[in-house]
């Protein structure tokens, strides 16, 4: 029952996280910032906008991105297979990439291409993470991972590698080249507007849920510690976001792949010796 409620309200939870983040970021920059509910006010305002679309494919693929991401989050909450969830998440990324390429807009294309390159950087790390959990729990099932004791110590290096994935997925500095508001004005989002932008907006919220739900798995059965970890990392990510500059896409790939894969390999080899 609790699962169904969580699944239904997942976008709302994500919305609150996004709102909270804006508050936190503002305070870090020593300004007042918007109210906590600002994302929902945005949503309400967008509802009343006139509907503009470029072409139906673009719009449909954008909506499918949101729907698939919701399903991904639902699969995590239901405790399905970790590896499977990662591939399903790739499907949702593919939808948004296809959407970006389906319009004749330079910014959209560049954004899509960067999104694609970002996927090259973080997907292998996610797969290694899944294998790391597999080596400890002897299963890919998320519900089994949730029943076992915290594995953050055994998987510490993979945990560090995962910390590099979070800013990529949430479009945070220094790894936010795929969105890059000042440079390519949001990338794939640029051609969405009004009602249809809401789906992209909500998908963004769902990414928060996705990322932090996976993070909580490091604490296994201990939900309180899991929430504490998520909150702590939430602050860290925002602190880093506020204090670093954006790096180029090529650097992003090089850094994330070289550092991330090395951390992952060392951790997995270590696990197989224990």
């Amino acid at each position: 029952m609790i699962e169904i409620v969580l699944i239904l309200f997942a976008p709302v939870i994500g919305g609150f996280m996004y709102g909270f983040e804006r508050v936190v970021r503002a305070r870090m920059q020593n300004r007042q910032g918007p109210p906590l509910l600002q994302p929902f006010y945005d949503m309400y305002k967008l509802l009343n906008k006139q509907a503009f679309i470029v072409n139906p494919y673009h719009t449909i693929l954008g909506i499918m991105h949101f729907v698939t991401l919701w399903v991904v989050v639902a699969f995590i909450i239901l405790g399905q297979n970790f590896l499977y969830v990662i591939f399903l998440h790739l499907l949702s990324t593919i939808f948004i990439i296809l959407a970006g390429f389906s319009v004749k807009s330079i910014y959209s294309h560049i954004g899509s291409n960067r999104e694609l390159l970002a996927a090259i950087a973080y997907e292998p790390i996610l797969i290694m993470l899944a294998v790391g959990f597999f080596l400890i729990n002897e299963t890919f099932s998320i519900s089994a991972i949730r029943e076992n004791s915290p594995s953050i110590i055994a998987l510490f290096l993979l945990f560090l590698a995962y910390l590099m994935v979070i800013p990529i997925k949430l479009k945070k500095s220094p790894f936010d080249a795929s969105e890059a508001h000042q440079e390519i004005v949001g990338g794939v989002e640029i051609e969405f507007s009004g009602l249809f932008f809401e789906f992209i907006y909500m998908a963004k919220w769902l990414e928060y849920v996705f990322v932090y739900a996976l993070l909580m798995l490091f604490m296994g059965s201990n939900t309180v510690l899991g929430l504490a970890l998520a909150l702590f990392i939430f602050f860290v990510i925002n602190l880093v976001d506020n204090s670093t500059a954006r790096i180029k896409m090529t650097h992003l790939i090089k850094i994330v792949l070289s550092v991330g894969l090395t951390l992952g390999v060392v951790n997995l080899i270590g696990l197989s010796y224990v």
Binding site: A51, F52, I53, V54, N55, P56, Y57, T59, I60, L61, M64, T68, V71, F75, Q80, N81, L83, Y84, F87, L88, L90, L91, I94, I97, L98, F101, S102, V103, K104, S105, I106, Y107, S108, H109, S112, N113, L116, A119, I120, P124, I127, M128, A130, V131, F134, L135, F140, V185, I190, E191, S193, F196, L261, G264, V265, L268, I269, L271, S272, Y273
Partner: protein
């Protein structure tokens, strides 16, 4: 008559029957033949659970020796005619080695024919998918400008190929296996050189000498098998295997790498693109390259830990490298070619791991890869024939001109990468199997990284191509192009088989109900929405594009790899294979 003998002899008969007929009669014979062969292979997997074994009489063995000698002499002759030193040299080398093999007489005798479950699965792939491609070829070859006899010979050769393939997956005798291996080489040589222009002849020769290397490897393996184990039979060799003397196994594995076009032997398969598209389709999906994982599956019980680890690492490395190289390509068939190389390497790696789960994954992969690749190559043929398109960058907005072709291409790519399709399941199980092996040997971590990176590269590659299909302006008036039934029906059949495949993977519990249904719905709903949702109420606007008004032409992104990377990749794979042989010798 037993099923296997019908499957071997009948295509030979059809092959002869199609040679001198008019188009209609030839087409009717072909369709009936394909239906018959497919029905037989389905019946075989459903109703016969026992292993079939048979020993050939002495006269048949002698006949095979004669045929083999003729083929080797033919290769030599081709080498002399085309003045290709490499072909000549390898042919002479093969003849000498073959003479040694024939002169030795091992005493441990077993069955010449052994049809097991793996063979039954291979029958399905060969006859159903191969058959569908032949039906497609009926129309395709008519649109080319060749003499009537040459056109019929094309169909006849394809049937002959099926026969050889059916035989090669039924035999237990390495000597006969060698004969059939050479026959497939011959078939591919003839088919690749079919157009008889300069490039075709050149590529055909490349295919010939590369595959001859495989032949040499098998012959040397045979000699060592006779000396060390006193047998020329797979089952005895594998049963009596001594983990200290693994040279025959490793050499056979090298032959598999050659047939599977693994890097550094990849050039022959890429060169095969010059042939008419049905040739690529049949080489990549149902025949030829599938010998590679099949042979690995046969050998895997005899592998030591070292051998199985090394082959897994080579296989996964090639999977990664070929996917990487494919990212810079624009020629549609070349992209498909590289992805075949990549996936075959992964299949071989899975076979080498050899756990029950890995073997299931390998078989699933063989089956579904064949389906998807056949579907994609058929579309490549349609693009060439109906739209005169060869390069991905030119297929802008194809969705307006032929939604059906676009649909099949997307299904083809999706079925290779996304849940719930078979090839995805195989990749999924591959990662699971490798993860399981890491607990025993940490070096498998590298195999894992190669698979993880390779599969992401491949996914991106495919969807990079798909993006081109959608790229379109605001509202273009659609111009539909009619496509022949001979093209669409085979594509539909393959599509239906893919769907049946999903049902089977559900029956076999490879994935749970939810894991299959949910993504299927997500993927299926997209074309439905495309066809029904038009957003009539929403206003159409030009792209905002930050208000920039300049005319722009958007092309595809390429991720071109410098030559040095290519060189490194070749070197690493050569080192890997040398390591494999040297490691076994020591």
């Amino acid at each position: 008559m037993t099923t296997y003998s019908i499957l071997i002899i009948a295509p030979l008969g059809f092959s002869a029957m199609t040679l001198f007929r008019s188009i209609t009669i030839r087409n009717l014979i072909t369709i009936a033949a394909v239906l018959g062969l497919s029905a037989l292979s389905v019946k075989n997997i459903l109703f016969s659970n026992t292993q079939v074994v048979e020993i050939f009489p002495h006269a048949v063995h002698n006949l095979f020796i004669v045929i083999d000698t003729v083929i080797l002499l033919y290769f030599l002759l081709q080498g002399i005619i085309t003045k290709n030193a490499l072909v000549k040299l390898l042919a002479i080398f093969q003849i000498a080695l073959y003479a040694i093999v024939v002169s030795l007489s091992p005493t441990l005798i077993s069955n010449d024919i052994l049809v097991d479950d793996t063979s039954s699965v291979m029958y399905l792939v060969i006859n159903i998918i191969g058959g569908i491609i032949i039906v497609y070829a009926l129309k395709y070859i008519e649109s080319e400008e060749f003499s009537r006899f040459k056109k019929n010979a094309f169909i006849a050769m394809l049937f002959f190929f099926l026969s050889v393939m059916n035989f090669i997956v039924s035999t237990n005798n390495i000597e006969i296996f060698f004969l059939l291996f050479e026959l497939t080489t011959l078939c591919s040589y003839l088919l690749i050189g079919y157009r008889n222009d300069e490039l075709s002849v050149q590529n055909a020769q490349k295919a010939l000498w590369m595959n001859q290397i495989g032949g040499v490897a098998i012959l040397v393996a045979l000699i060592f098998s006779i000396i060390q184990y006193d047998t020329i039979y797979f089952d005895i060799l594998i049963k009596n295997i001594d983990k200290v003397y693994l040279l025959p196994i490793v050499l056979l594995a090298v032959a598999a790498f050659v047939k599977g076009a693994s890097i550094p032997f990849d050039k022959w398969l890429l060169g095969a693109m010059v042939a008419p598209t049905p040739v690529s389709a049949i080489l990549h999906s149902a025949t030829m390259v599938k010998i590679a994982p099949y042979l690995m599956l046969k050998l895997s019980p005899a592998m030591s830990d070292f051998v199985s680890l090394t082959i897994t690492l080579i296989g996964t490395f090639v999977f990664f490298a070929a996917s990487l190289l494919a990212l810079g390509k624009d020629f549609f068939k070349e992209i498909l070619g590289y992805s075949t190389i990549a996936m075959l390497a992964l299949m071989m790696a899975l076979a080498a791991i050899g756990t029950p789960e890995a073997i299931t994954a390998c078989l699933v992969f063989i089956l579904f890869h064949a389906l998807s690749k056949a579907l994609l190559f058929l579309q490549a043929g349609i693009l060439e024939k109906s739209f005169h398109l060869k390069y991905v960058n030119d297929i802008n907005g194809l969705v307006n001109r032929s939604p059906l072709v676009v649909f099949f291409i997307i299904i083809g790519f999706a079925s290779l990468t996304l849940p719930p399709f078979g090839a995805f399941i195989a990749k999924f199980m591959a990662i699971e199997s490798i993860a399981g092996e890491i607990a025993n040997n940490p070096l498998y971590v590298f195999a894992l990284i190669f698979v993880a990176l390779g599969s992401v590269f491949l996914t991106l590659l495919y969807f990079k191509v798909v993006t081109k299909l959608f790229a379109k302006d605001v509202d273009v008036t659609s111009r539909h192009v009619e496509i022949s039934k001979f093209y669409t029906i085979p594509s539909f059949l393959l599509f239906i088989l893919l769907i049946i495949g999903i049902y089977i993977s559900f029956e076999k519990e490879l994935l749970s109900f939810m894991e299959i249904v949910v993504p299927l719905l997500l993927i299926a709903v997209v074309p439905v929405l495309f066809a029904t949702l038009f957003f009539k109420k929403a206003h159409r606007v030009k792209e905002y594009n930050c208000g920039e008004k300049d005319e722009i032409v958007l092309n595809m992104y390429y991720f071109h790899m410098p030559k040095t990377v290519h060189k490194y990749i070749i070197n690493i794979s050569i080192i890997g294979m040398s390591l494999l042989i040297v490691g076994v010798l020591l």
